[in-house]
């Protein structure tokens, strides 16, 4: 996506690029990067996206940490997890292994959400290139 634009624009101005020294190119790239960071960081679209994402990340984190820390709290101060569920298998093992299952499920959930996030980021960068960020 990036490269396509680059090649099509670069071809005719190649002479001009040559006159730029390496240092100048680096400085120009730094300037453009700074500008990108500033404009993207200030844009409403970006802020909204970050807020949404962080709400998702932190609320999920709080939930799984709460479920996790309930395990030692329940074993320390109550005996609910001591009861036998099937044969001699006690609830505490079921709870602990459910936390394993939770970890794997939330892990794949994150990966799926992150892929969506990647797409949103790509769309925002595209929008920035076209000068459409507000």
């Amino acid at each position: 996506m990036v490269n396509d634009i680059e090649t099509s624009i670069n071809a005719p101005v190649i002479e001009e690029v040559k006159t730029e020294s390496k240092k100048e190119i680096k400085e120009r790239e730094e300037r453009e990067f700074k500008k990108f960071l500033r404009e993207m960081g200030r844009s409403k679209e970006f802020k909204a996206m970050v807020k949404k994402r962080q709400t998702f990340l932190f609320s999920t984190t709080i939930i799984f940490l709460a479920l996790y820390i309930s395990l030692p709290i329940l074993t320390s101060f109550t005996s609910v997890l001591d009861q036998k569920v099937y044969g001699e298998i006690t609830l505490v093992w079921i709870y602990a292994l459910s936390l394993f299952a939770m970890t794997i499920i939330l892990c794949s959930f994150y990966i799926r959400q992150a892929k969506k996030h990647d797409k949103r980021v790509a769309a925002l960068i595209e929008k920035y290139r076209n000068g459409g960020l507000t």
Partner: protein, 514 residues
């Protein structure tokens, strides 16, 4: 030692040396040395991360703890597994996007101040040294027990091997040693678990039935309460485990070995599956050892239960399996300590020497040389400390390292990425408070003071918990908050916006020009 164990032993040493030889050819600049050129694939780094989780403390320590105290031993396993989520959800991607080689790089991406870098480097070095002493002491004791060689020779062997890997092969060799070991360890554990289950007629229900009578504890073995009698002890320990993992510098460093945030998340996905499988299997190892070796014999071999897994291997598969498991345990120790040496070296050579003392003005050659000298110094320092620390309680040191990571590193990491009003004063306050409160409360705790002679000094502990995380983690966060609020520094909003863009998009300098 017999022929079988010698050949397994030499096989592993030979394999890792070949890996180091190949890696050495591809290690030319600082990026190669510290991060394997950032060229690891997701599954490779995932295996290497799980390799870091599956240290000797995890493999030998957890299976021993389950064998000796039933469910209470399994708490560690739960902590290690859920920790993956903390790393994945709030740390991995921003860290990958902001950092370069070290934790300090990531924090100074926001606060470009020497003090901040120095504080992060010092907490890294403290954690690395504690963790490394624990691994080396454990390794020495294990090798002494398994092969019958003297403790100091054992420590020197491990020390020489780890220095060789790091010095010549850098992160590439370290990662591949870690990958090889993770595969061997998974195979060995799966095999032993299968053999244990076979003893119970392939039925988990039968296994639990038998375990309710197999030990002197009866069915108390299958519920919590054998090890943790003070309720807050287990809670504090679990806080340290789940939050500490995300602040352990040698784990964090692994995220710089991949090319982007996307690969970083794939790495954790791999690590999550592998650790979940491995730590489920620790139940079989622990139960098997308790049932077939017996708690009495496990305690007779090692008070902390560290040799439960090898003893079980001997019961299940005779000398061949015993030799194999011992060789794997040896590889485990080597792999983890190599990663630690490299992390320590990055803090000394890159942060303290390169960025602070030399102000970042070094040629590639000088950087690599500095990295190698840093590796040797951290290795020598920890070998010397380990030689003098033979009698120290290893699991205490490890949990203590987790505690410092959770109290001193994690608050700074999270605030740097997510909190707008964080200042460099806050960063310093959080690191210093976290580090000092851990050390002070740890020094007043039951691992140092005991009336029964099980600790270093004789006396009543001033602080009741063996792991102070439940106090020190909130303290670290609080210090970061108060430090930021009280400081007169103006919050650099523009800088924070930049950080947000970088951490959320992963776009670098070369990614925007058009």
């Amino acid at each position: 030692m017999n022929l079988v164990s010698i050949s397994f032993f030499l096989g592993i040493v030979g394999l890792t040396l070949i890996v180091t030889y190949v890696a050495a050819k591809n290690t030319s600049d600082a990026k190669d040395f510290y991060t394997a050129g950032g060229g690891l694939k997701g599954w490779q780094n995932g295996l290497a991360i799980s390799g870091d989780y599956l240290s000797a403390a995890a493999f030998l320590g957890v299976s021993g703890a389950i064998a000796l105290s039933g469910f209470d031993g399994f708490f560690f396993s739960v902590g290690y597994v859920v920790a993956n989520l903390v790393v994945l959800y709030i740390i991995a991607e921003p860290l990958r996007n902001l950092g370069k080689y070290t934790l300090a790089d990531m924090i100074t991406a926001r606060f470009n101040e020497k003090k901040v870098r120095a504080a992060a480097a010092i907490s890294t070095i403290t954690i690395v040294i504690l963790y490394m002493i624990a691994q080396l002491v454990g390794a020495g004791a294990l090798i002494q027990l398994l092969f019958g060689i003297d403790y100091w020779i054992a420590v020197l062997i491990v020390g020489t091997m780890m220095t060789t890997y790091v010095l010549f092969g850098g992160m590439t060799a370290t990662s591949w040693v870690q990958i090889i070991k993770a595969c061997l360890l998974l195979f060995g554990t799966a095999l032993m678990s299968f053999l244990v289950l076979r003893q119970f007629d392939y039925s988990i229900v039968t296994m639990f039935d038998k375990m309710s009578t197999a030990t002197e504890y009866g069915d108390k073995f299958l519920v919590s309460g054998l090890k943790y009698t003070n309720g807050f002890d287990s809670i504090s320990m679990l806080i340290a485990l789940v939050l500490g993992t995300g602040g352990l510098p040698h784990i964090l460093m692994r995220f710089f070995t991949v090319k982007d945030a996307k690969t970083a998340r794939t790495s954790i996905s791999w690590a999550t599956w592998i650790t979940a499988i491995f730590f489920t299997l620790t139940i079989f190892l622990g139960f098997g050892a308790a049932a077939f070796v017996g708690i009495k014999d496990i305690l007779a071999a090692n008070v902390a239960g560290n040799t439960a897994a090898p003893l079980l291997a001997e019961f299940l598969g005779g000398n061949v399996l015993l030799s194999f498991i011992c060789a794997v345990a040896f590889a485990t120790i080597l792999a983890v300590v190599s990663g630690l040496v490299l992390t320590g070296a990055s803090a000394i050579s890159h942060d303290l020497y390169g960025e602070i003392y030399k102000k970042g003005v070094l040629t590639e050659k000088q950087q690599v040389l500095a990295a190698r000298i840093g590796s040797i110094s951290i290795a020598v320092a920890s070998i010397l400390l380990a030689l003098g620390a033979q009698s120290l309680n290893v699991s205490f040191l490890v949990s203590f390292a987790f505690c410092i990571a959770a109290s001193a590193n994690l608050p700074v990491i999270l605030y740097t990425i997510y909190w707008k009003n964080f200042t460099s004063t806050g960063a310093l306050a959080a690191t210093i408070t976290g580090l000092l409160s851990c050390i002070i409360l740890g020094a007043m705790g039951p691992n140092i003071w005991s009336t029964t002679g099980t600790a270093i000094f004789n006396g009543t502990p001033w602080f009741p918990l063996s792991n102070p995380a439940i106090i020190t983690v909130p303290l670290g966060f609080l210090a970061g908050y108060i430090g930021s609020k009280l400081s007169k520094q103006k919050v650099d909003l523009e800088m924070y916006e930049e950080i947000q863009v970088k951490s959320n998009t992963g776009v670098g300098v070369s990614g925007v020009s058009h």
